[in-house]
């Protein structure tokens, strides 16, 4: 089943409102990059090359949608892509960009652009899926490299990628990490979607919820856990909303 050069899937990478860290992250897959190139043709990748293409088998999108021109551009990419995959927290869930949605949009615009604000039209920050159909999401800030490889391999082999839907706690327990709550920290691991191999708690850091929440987050109970462990209710909500404003600010308990 070797992929012949002529029918290798055409893959492209695009960035929207983001730090471009997820794209950079892929270039860090040094050991696997050549193997990946055995299977795919990268036809557009601004972070790494100059070429452009007309259509794509897989378009990977980094960044959130936050301006009218983003909307236009993502529609254009979607039209030309057979499959579209959101990469990283900004693209999958709006990410930290969506924190701006919690403030009046005009105030935010003024704070950022000052007197020039009329030259920069802006929208509330949105995940890609708010505008176009997204086929798969690879979560994380930056996106998880093992998950990226897993999804890519599944797609190349013609299989449906499996989306993890259990908490980061699971991976901590499999690795027999001491709970960071027991180190005196507060952690969003109990309701954050795993699949990152609990990378932050494994290095003694608490989970900030960058991969989004599991599909049935019990936010009331999580707020209770956080406040029981010594932070204020207000702080607890802010922690949950850091990466999850777009999906969860409306449903956050009062």
């Amino acid at each position: 089943m070797t992929t012949e050069a002529k029918n290798k899937p055409k893959v492209a990478f695009f960035d929207f409102t983001s730090c471009e860290g997820c794209q950079l992250n892929k270039l860090n897959l040094e050991n696997d990059l050549l193997d990946i190139l055995e299977h795919v043709d990268i036809v557009e990748f601004r972070e790494a090359m100059d070429d452009k293409a007309e259509e794509y088998d897989i378009a990977f999108i980094e960044g959130s949608i936050s301006t009218p021109s983003c909307v236009e551009r993502i529609h254009d990419i979607r039209r030309r892509a057979k499959m579209l995959i959101a990469l990283g927290a900004c693209a999958t869930q709006g990410g930290i960009n969506a924190m701006k949605n919690l403030q009046p949009i005009e105030e935010v615009r003024e704070a950022v652009y000052g007197d020039e604000k009329y030259r920069f039209p802006t929208l509330p920050a949105m995940p890609v899926s708010a505008i176009v159909k997204v086929d798969y999401k690879i979560d994380g800030c930056p996106m998880s490299m093992p998950e990226f490889l897993k999804v890519l391999k599944s797609l190349l082999a013609g299989q449906e990628p499996i989306k993890p839907d259990s908490a980061v706690c699971v991976e901590c327990k499999l690795k027999e990490n001491e709970c960071v709550f027991d180190k005196g920290m507060v952690c969003l691991g109990p309701i954050t979607r795993g699949g990152c191999d609990a990378i932050c708690p494994s290095f003694g850091q608490f989970c900030t919820g960058c991969r989004g929440l599991i599909s049935n987050p019990n936010k009331n109970a999580m707020l209770e856990i956080l406040t029981e462990h010594g932070i204020s209710l207000d702080e607890a909500k802010k922690r949950i909303l850091l990466f999850n404003s777009y999906d969860h600010s409306q449903s956050m308990p009062k």
Partner: protein, 352 residues
């Protein structure tokens, strides 16, 4: 039963003696305030006075992640993972964790014997150690006293000078045979262990409670505080559910079939093709978790499948206590079905 005295300062040389006979696994410090079983490299880093380890020794027989087989799509072949035959000596095991292994033995031999578990389980010796129950331990309340030696080859009972070494089996006798440092057992009393009963009912009475507990209100109440992180499942020494996943390498030709621990509190656990999930709510999942410990297997074996290690409670960030759940079920049972205080009804046998 033969008894000896092992003084505290002899412990490292005793461990060195064990190391000559096999790979020794024992509790070590982990993180800021936790303990974990690990292979002994430095004998003096072993800690025998500990409250509980993060995971039980289950992890050596049913590893958290395990390669089942590697496959090749090129020629449709596969090769099973290899499992070492080395002799394993587990030192410093608490009685409840030993009991948990015996329960897993049952689970993995009844019906279809589970090859990987049984292969890993062979050539194992167990040296128990006494412990002082903390706020979370309730093993005695489910029928497993601190000094229960069932399953052990040797048992170390803490006393003021060190340990009373009790030889339980022939295997234990062999392990200790050529170790010269032992004296005759001293006539000193072992440290007195106070154990406060934590369950409202004797564990023998729990089956009658659980028979009536399917619709208890406790499940919804617990679910309000639960986030479904699965910690309680994963740290449980008698939970054995797993998931199996194929992982291809980048050649798209070769890959591995891997198995890892799973838990019934997690979203995908009871999800099936077509999008159905047999236990959608956290209340249903909590009930299932607790019924797995006190009803389903208990109904067949007559024993509680919870060993009272207290891990699910100690490591629950939401502070959900399995003891509280069981006691609340007892309360609810009394109110609904006995309709009077248990002290009276328990003795009311006149009509029989």
């Amino acid at each position: 039963m033969k008894k000896y005295q092992l003084n505290k300062k002899q412990l490292p040389s005793f461990i060195d003696h064990l190391k000559k006979q096999g790979t020794v696994f024992a509790p070590h410090k982990k993180g800021d305030a936790s303990y974990s079983f690990a292979k002994v490299v430095e004998s003096d880093s072993v800690i025998l006075e500990y409250n509980r380890t993060l995971n039980s020794i289950k992890k050596y027989f049913l590893p958290p992640r395990e390669l089942l087989l590697s496959y090749s799509r090129k020629d449709n072949s596969y090769k099973k993972g290899t499992i070492g035959k080395e002799k394993k000596i587990f030192l410093g095991v608490h009685s409840y964790d030993m009991k948990a292994v015996l329960k897993l033995d049952y689970n993995f031999t009844e019906g279809n014997p589970e090859e990987n578990y049984l292969l890993r389980r062979r050539n194992s010796s167990f040296i128990g150690v006494s412990f002082i129950p903390d706020e979370f331990h309730f093993s005695q309340s489910v029928g497993m006293p601190v000094h229960d030696t069932d399953g052990f080859d040797i048992y170390l009972e803490k006393n003021d000078d060190g340990y009373t070494v009790k030889i339980i089996t022939e295997k234990g006798e062999k392990l200790i045979k050529e170790f010269n440092g032992l004296c005759d057992a001293l006539d000193i009393s072992s440290n007195h262990i106070q154990f406060q009963n934590k369950l409202k009912y004797n564990y023998n009475r729990l089956p009658e409670v659980f028979e009536q507990s399917w619709n208890a209100e406790v499940w919804e109440e617990v679910a309000k505080r639960c986030v479904g992180c699965g910690t309680c499942n994963l740290v449980c020494p008698t939970c054995y559910c797993f998931d199996v996943e194929d992982n291809m390498d980048l050649s798209l030709q070769n890959g591995t079939r891997d198995r890892s621990w799973d838990g019934c509190m997690l979203n995908d656990f009871a999800a099936v093709a077509g999008g159905e999930n047999f236990r959608k709510s956290l209340a249903d999942r909590q009930r299932h978790r607790i019924f797995r410990k006190f009803r389903y297997i208990t109904y067949i074996t007559g024993e509680p499948w919870c060993v009272g290690c207290g891990r699910c409670t100690a490591y629950c960030t939401a502070g959900i206590s399995i003891v509280d759940i069981v006691n609340q079920l007892c309360d609810e049972y009394e109110q609904k079905y006995l309709n009077r205080p248990v002290e009276q009804s328990g003795l009311n046998l006149e009509g029989l």
